[in-house]
């Protein structure tokens, strides 16, 4: 096949700007999918993705476009995950393309993810085709937003296409524009194989299906392929393309997008970003940009009912088959028993894993306070990484603590600048710059500690901007900070899942707030319960749950006995779900309380 007739592209957009709807319209207009089939959003195949309106896992679809003049073109749409947690996967998907449709909602204008996606696509040298979507809506500001987008992308206003993915208006022109503007792929089908993995999925019947973009060379069933990062080699059982379902082909060649099956049992052996080559004829240089997806956020995951430990272990094992970025290892807590320390790409990734564990595997979980990875230089000159507050050494043993910082872009209507800047300042942000997007809206750039945004930052941002601010961030660097470990004690016993690492200046407020919250959650017991927050040996906050004074049933005669017993049985069942620290019983919601600490109040 002539490379001239192939276009590899992706769609990038801020959340809810219509990416999935547009993808469905392309499938329908190219005849890949019937109108009826297009009613569901096809690319987002996981339930969770549809519910949250985001794409978690990238897929690729091949379409054929017959132009009015009779020319035919192969269109490979490579879907990208739409969330900052998955920015590495996004970058690999972009690396597999030559062009990108930049979709902007005509009622909303440019948002934070529009910007970050645009710059990311630019970095990868992609040709940008700007598109304004939702032009059918009454509140659409088509002319204005086209202007904005032209300004951002440096093109002429008339070059910004206008469509309604919902009604289909402008979609034909969009596809023609895509074919005209995006360059065809280049590459030598005779050169040694170099293929970029941009996704891999585990299928229990067929093993790992590896999605690749071939840069050079050719691969066919029977080829012996090798993964450069691991040097593992496998015999290819099938290659093919994806048109809603896998369609086997004799071979895939440079410029093409497709899948490879090679009897691989584990997605960790076919990692996103890795280069596939031929074992007998390896390429000289692997493709650039490969790295191990590194968890940014860690949390302890415990079964609420300790008898579900085995189920949890099996469920994590199954999830990991399909999620190479999920890391976990066993850990135990004095309060919560046996569980796992899990590493996630970000908060959304964490929520998705939690929901899948609970929904698909019927587990009830207790998640401990999320933590970022701290870098410690110890007094004995040893370096150490800590992602579990429990393992944070005493202050005396630490020379320097470094924490991860991110660069955050926030786009908001200018009237909320004050609120948002205050929020960022409260979260120890360092102001970088502020630019006007248009007369009403600004972009504020802050460098923020990641540890500060994993606590409800997004919710707070939405609340101080009445929902108008949009937000995106990227990892920046590690910086030294005055961080301390704050512990929570009940009658002198440490509740390890409630330990947090906080900035020294905030530790007192945090401790007071947490102690107060717990006072409202821990039920009265037969003895008084002292709640203490401490830094090292220093108690910074104290509350007391007074002892129970009265818990008695006055009457218990013949007719009351069964009822009384059943009540006791129910209450005992409820108590079994409580966790115990020392002699103090703690309801499960206590472990969530810390997640709801409002550090601004």
């Amino acid at each position: 096949m002539s490379l001239e007739r192939i276009r590899n592209f992706c769609i990038i957009a801020h959340i809810d700007h219509g990416k999935s709807t547009l993808a469905d319209r392309l499938l329908e207009r190219t005849g890949t999918l019937s109108v009826q089939e297009a009613q569901g959003q096809v690319l987002d195949s996981m339930d969770l993705e549809q519910e949250r309106g985001i794409t978690i896992k990238a897929h690729a679809v091949r379409m054929e476009w017959a132009r009015a003049d009779g020319t035919r073109t192969i269109l490979n749409l490579i879907d990208t995950p739409g969330h900052v947690d998955f920015s590495y996967e996004v970058s690999r998907s972009l690396a597999a393309c030559e062009g990108a449709l930049l979709v902007v909602d005509a009622t909303q204008g440019i948002e934070a993810q529009t910007l970050s996606n645009f710059y990311l696509a630019l970095e990868h040298g992609l040709t940008i085709v700007p598109v304004v979507n939702k032009i059918d809506l009454a509140s659409a500001r088509v002319a204005e937003v086209r202007e904005e987008v032209a300004h951002l992308t440096g093109c002429e206003t008339h070059e910004v296409l206008a469509v309604s993915a919902k009604t289909g208006v402008g979609v034909t022109e969009l596809i023609d524009g895509l074919v005209d503007r995006v360059p065809p792929p280049s590459g030598d089908p005779e050169a040694p194989l170099r293929a970029l993995i941009f996704d891999s999925l585990f299928d229990q019947f067929r093993g790992v299906m590896t999605y690749v973009r071939l840069m050079d060379g050719t691969v066919r069933a029977g080829s012996r392929i090798m993964f450069v990062s691991t040097a593992n080699s496998y015999e290819v059982s099938e290659v093919g393309i994806f048109q809603l379902k896998p369609i086997p082909r004799e071979s895939l060649a440079a410029g093409e997008v497709g899948y490879i099956l090679a009897g691989i049992k584990d997605v960790h052996d076919a990692k996103v970003g890795d280069t596939v080559t031929l074992a007998e004829r390896p390429c000289g240089e692997p493709l650039p940009g490969y790295r191990d997806a590194k968890p940014m956020v860690y949390s302890g995951v415990y079964p609420a009912d300790s008898e579900q430990y085995g189920l949890l272990r099996d469920a994590l094992g199954k999830l990991r088959l399909n999620d190479a970025s999920l890391a976990y290892e066993p850990e135990s807590s004095s309060a919560l028993g046996f569980g796992f320390r899990c590493g996630f790409l970000g908060l959304l990734h964490m929520e998705i894993v939690q929901e899948r564990l609970e929904r698909e595997y019927g587990l009830t979980l207790i998640m401990t306070v999320p933590s970022v990875v701290y870098r410690l230089l110890l007094a004995d000159a040893e370096m150490k990484e800590v992602s579990n507050p429990t393992h944070f050494p005493p202050a005396g043993e630490i020379e320097v603590v470094e924490e991860p910082f991110v660069r955050a872009q926030i786009i908001l209507p200018s009237e909320y600048i004050g609120n948002v800047m205050k929020l960022c300042q409260d979260r120890r942000g360092v102001h970088v710059r502020m630019d006007y997007v248009d007369a009403q809206r600004v972009t504020i750039v802050y460098d923020l500690p990641l540890g500060e945004i994993i606590f409800d930052f997004y919710d707070r941002l939405k609340s101080v901007s009445r929902g108008y601010a949009s937000f995106d961030y990227e990892f920046l660097d590690y910086r030294a900070s005055d961080l301390v470990r704050l512990d929570l004690l009940l009658n002198g016993d440490k509740v390890d899942p409630l330990s947090v690492i906080v900035h020294e200046a905030k530790a007192y407020d945090w401790g007071r707030e947490l102690a107060k919250k717990l006072k409202g959650i821990i039920p009265k017991q037969m003895f008084a319960v002292a709640i203490q927050a401490s830094i090292g040996n220093k108690v910074v906050a104290r509350e007391t749950v007074s002892a129970l004074r009265k818990d008695v049933t006055a009457k218990c005669y013949g007719g009351d006995i069964t009822r009384k017993r059943k009540l006791l049985e129910r209450q005992k069942e409820g108590k079994r779900r409580m966790k115990q620290v020392g002699t103090v019983q703690i309801p499960q919601e206590a472990f969530l309380a810390v997640l709801r600490i409002d550090s601004e109040s």
Binding site: K550, A554, Y557, G558, R565
Partner: protein, 399 residues
């Protein structure tokens, strides 16, 4: 509970029965704290109900043919004192033909003060009643009004005296503790006046807000302020002290009696003896089985005393739980050796850590092979019982 018309065979033949409870569900008015099965009294209704009760008694007698002469008979309600004297005399005469009483049996009747006129008292004596449980509740007029009671404090005290004159030495008085709005002074004065009357038995109940009572509805609507735990604690201790000073021993969480005047019928429940039951909503036990009659008065009468029953299928764990909490409600405490005898040594091993903890907390003490709650333990008894409750699987099968 399982609903069933058939009787589990393990109910046996009645040979272990020791008492009989009869539920008389009619009231002149409904008290605000009550969630019992009651209905308004309508002319003729009581008579047909009592006929149905006799029919149930006969049927029970036929099934439980080995029932020995009974040691106690208790007429509870509702308001049994509302029953017309001639009906009551006739009913008890027939009932005791069906289920004969042992010599010296305790025959109790629950009474409201306003019903206790001389004619009724005489009729009760004639019918064989020898113990009256009188629902005085309070001697504070405002509190009585808040409870929707049908008598004044003066009527209450006068009824006590009339009953004594009519030959009822064995009188018990019910008082409620921590009625909203009643001051501590008023409660303690009332308690002292009752004790001053020389009653040999006293029951003092914390006002419990039952979900299906008027107070329960008010509480749900946010219109009911319960008294503080601290106040309850003070009043409870004061009650125990004053009752004991007046010569009434504290023998169960809520009950006090002079020597020889403990409520024998209720002691059967607390010691887990078998007590038969007649009437709507009544709960009986025999041969290890427990059942509860359905609550509909209309249906009970229509079916001539053959009510639907729910059976409480008690597992060994459930029986052990009951043994523990009923035993601990008594001031003499729980006989640990008997518990081991009945449920096996494993039970005591299971309970040992919790018992040790309660001893260390000063909620439990040992006396003569029994574990008994301390005063403070009594106030926290439900918390103690909760930890000692056994769930299915807690007990290894007893061989």
């Amino acid at each position: 509970m399982r609903s069933s018309a058939s009787t589990p065979s393990r109910r046996g033949d009645g040979a272990d029965a020791r008492g009989l409870y009869v539920h008389v569900p009619f009231c002149a008015r409904r008290c605000n704290f009550c969630d019992f099965v009651t209905g308004p009294e309508v002319a003729g209704r009581t008579e047909t109900y009592l006929d149905a009760a006799l029919a149930e008694a006969r049927a029970e007698r036929a099934e439980l043919a080995a029932t020995p002469p009974l040691e106690t008979l208790f007429l509870g309600g509702g308001t049994p004192s509302l029953v017309a004297p001639r009906l009551l005399v006739r009913f008890l005469a027939r009932l005791t033909e069906i289920f004969p009483l042992a010599a010296g049996a305790e025959v109790s009747l629950e009474a409201n003060p306003e019903d206790l006129d001389d004619a009724r008292l005489a009729a009760f004596r004639e019918a064989g009643v020898n113990r009256l449980s009188i629902g005085l509740q309070s001697l504070d007029p405002a509190a009585l009004a808040a409870l929707n009671r049908g008598h004044t404090p003066e009527q209450g005290l006068a009824a006590l005296r009339r009953a004594e004159r009519a030959g009822f030495t064995n009188r018990s008085v019910d008082l409620l503790l921590a009625i909203p709005g009643e001051t501590e002074r008023l409660f303690l004065d009332g308690l002292d006046r009752v004790l001053g009357e020389g009653v040999p038995h006293l029951s003092v109940y914390a006002l419990t807000v039952e979900e299906r009572s008027v107070f329960g509805r008010r509480a749900r609507a946010g219109r009911f302020a319960e008294e503080s735990d601290e106040r309850f604690e003070r009043l409870y201790h004061a009650t125990v002290d004053r009752a004991e000073r007046a010569g009434l021993a504290h023998y169960e969480i809520s009950n006090f009696a002079r020597h020889g005047f403990r409520a024998r019928h209720n002691l059967l429940y607390w010691t887990r003896a078998s007590v038969l039951a007649i009437g709507v909503g009544a709960v009986g036990t025999a041969g290890g089985a427990r059942w509860r009659n359905a609550s509909s008065i209309e249906r009970y009468v229509r079916r001539a005393g053959a009510p639907d029953r729910e059976w409480d299928e008690r597992t060994p764990e459930a029986r052990a739980t009951e043994a523990i909490f009923l035993g601990l409600r008594l001031r003499e405490g729980l006989d640990l050796a008997a518990l081991r005898e009945e449920f096996g040594a494993a039970l005591l091993e299971t309970l040992a850590p919790a018992l040790a903890r309660f001893r260390a907390l000063g909620l439990l003490e040992d006396s003569a092979g029994r574990a008994r709650l301390t005063r403070r333990g009594l106030l926290l008894s439900d918390a103690v019982f909760r930890d000692l409750t056994l769930l299915p699987g807690d007990l290894a099968p007893v061989s």
